[in-house]
Symmetry: none
Subunit: 119 residues, 4 copies
DNA sequence: GTGGTCTAGACCACG
DNA sequence: GTGGTCTAGACCACG
């Protein structure tokens, strides 16, 4: 799985990595139980500091996506909490995206197509 | 139109206001040509710095949502650029939201319902 | 409010500070809405790194005890989430403490007295 | 007596085992004089490193909960030191737990009930 | 002035 | 070998 940093983005590096790992888990690129690269390996590969990667792993751990194990490093959790609901923050974001897209002349059908594509 | 700041949110104040104005334009709460409150008036009303409101208006202007003229202050543009496409940033955000929601056990249908509701 | 670090403790510094702030909020030493020292001030006062204090504030923020505001720094939240239940982790800890104390010959009444004192 | 490791917990494995053995002694599941499994046996049974179990037994021995002799391996001590007091560390922990629970809206009575249940 | 992010580098406990 | 913590120092966005 390839992780790419957009250095011009306003999204902090540790969050960009976090987002891509979450998307990787969702798409199946990262299977349950699969080991993530070590903090050092990922930092080296991406040319960033280990602290930054560490921050990402701490966040993913706290969110329940991964767990760490001193023997095996970081691994994807087998069972991820299924609340069954979209978080309030994500609802707000979604509303913003729909509003902006609508103003840009995007049809509802095109948005649904994107949902279809990403799901 | 009422603008509400979430003081606990990580989203900067100027961006929260920007987002709510864009959503207001999209929903029709703010009609094309309608005048926005002056920077001073809005800052006073919301108990925030004028610099913050000014930043919001600058951004909205630059994004093509509003225009300013010396006589009438800031007004909603009559014609907003209709690219007909979802911006790359919004596509990325949408993908992230879909991934997270999917992992939380949200069905595709529920996401489509939200699009329906917000559009 | 005075925060003291035990440099011989196994509990990380950022967690020791976090614990003392939580206890300060619970006891009323830190009132709702009250401003915490700035990251820099606290770091200087305690002779530790700003990053360490920053980690504490991030944690307290994520746990819902405080919020940060670029104008006013970090402040105690007015409303803290009331689940009404003891967390599983705290239950486990409590069970461990009760077991150890019991083996040391501490009576149930003495433990209840401590609860009384700390509540 | 069954020992269970929570692989998602931040508590080190050797400490999780230690805690469960102490709670086992307190509850009577492990009687005074009773023999504990050998380091090898327990490590094999739990699928962990012998070094980890060894560390647990060293700690329990140093704390005065068990003793070892070459012939019979590790056994629960007949007489455990009865200081009659709660250790400073446990007092601190208890205070932290009470503070957090109180802030979560847990009543004093509910905490006392837990003491009652665990004692 | 404030918190947030990041680097380069170090040391430590766990296993 | 692994993640976790910490330092000293820097720069940035927000307000």
């Amino acid at each position: 799985m390839i992780i790419k940093i957009d250095e011009y983005s306003d999204v902090p590096i540790y969050m960009q990595i976090r987002n891509q790992i979450v998307m990787g888990i969702s798409s199946g690129d990262l299977a349950p139980g699969e080991q993530l690269p070590t903090v050092r390996a990922l930092a080296l590969e991406m040319g960033i500091n280990t602290m930054t990667v560490s921050k990402t792993y701490q966040l993913l751990k706290q969110e329940g996506y991964i767990f760490t194990d001193r023997k095996n490093g970081a691994r994807v959790r087998e069972t991820i909490n299924k609340s069954g609901t979209v978080s309030d923050e994500n609802k707000n974001e979604l509303k913003r995206i729909v509003s902006e897209s609508r103003l840009s002349g995007v049809s509802k059908e095109d948005l649904v197509k994107l949902i279809d594509e990403f799901y």
